[in-house]
Subunit: 199 residues, 2 copies
Amino acid sequence: MDAVTDKDLHAKRADARMNIAAILDSATRCLARDPDASLADIAREAGVGRVTLYGHFDSRSTLVAHVVDAAMAHSESELEKVDLTGDPVDAMQRLLVASWWLTHRHGALVQAAEKSLEPAQIHAAHEEPLTRMRALLQRGRLAGCFRQDMPLPWQVTMIQGILHGASAAVHRGDHTADEACELIATSVLAALTPPDAAG
Amino acid sequence: MDAVTDKDLHAKRADARMNIAAILDSATRCLARDPDASLADIAREAGVGRVTLYGHFDSRSTLVAHVVDAAMAHSESELEKVDLTGDPVDAMQRLLVASWWLTHRHGALVQAAEKSLEPAQIHAAHEEPLTRMRALLQRGRLAGCFRQDMPLPWQVTMIQGILHGASAAVHRGDHTADEACELIATSVLAALTPPDAAG
């Protein structure tokens, strides 16, 4: 056998990086289509062998965890772009629209995650985006735009419930994603408006 | 071996019925505590052998489907008792309270079902209780108590989303079940109230 040169090693590392990227990409697509997609499906779509896949990810749940991490990083970079300054009601509308499209895109992924990750891991994946939502709710409550007669954590629970319920309903075909987007904003803002400020 | 008498057969059938009831009972308790409870756990708590359990339920998902059926029958008999006549807002409040306690009780069971049943089966299990909700929403919309500028199916989606989100949040310890009950009613009614009728 020939001696391994620095150049060989470098090429091998580049191959490994490309394989990992291809596997994560394929897993994201496969799991978004079908939360039960198998490692064999994912390897096939990535164009790598199962042995290669197992060399990088030792189990299906490790791979799902990495896909969720990548989705969260993407969400974070999208949410960072949302302008949360100015009128809290307008800012909430913008944040809800951005949150909806991320929830919708990652909908089936959430199902895959729920089947293979622990509830604590799933909850942790939601924590980062929620910090932004909490800060805006707090600002809107202090400004008198959002009702203060219910706890802020409940308002977060309600918003998450509506987003996830809408995602499931759109996947079932009850509403289009565009309809859901508008209805989420209208419903959440109605539920947040102080009772004496509506109308 | 002795001949099997009618009395023996009768006793065997009575045993089988008791075993089935004990298994369903045990499965309901085990799955409500832990959606990943194994058939071995369920058999142990029911006081039957695994062979007996497999004799009645050929797989874990068959057993989960039966437990879900039993839970749905229970829900149906509870929801039947709710007075849906009179003022639609008061009737909705009563229906939400009853729906909340059923969602809360069956919360972990829903997770078990989501892990082992097809989405279509889970959706079917929700259909019956939803008929009542839809009829009340329709009556309230016609009476001008609930807003008509969003589709009725969306209002159902929103209510389900809030109920399920609340159930997950209570399981995580974010709210007590009593707090959630009151907050669900307040939030849903705020989101249903016509914009010009609030205040």
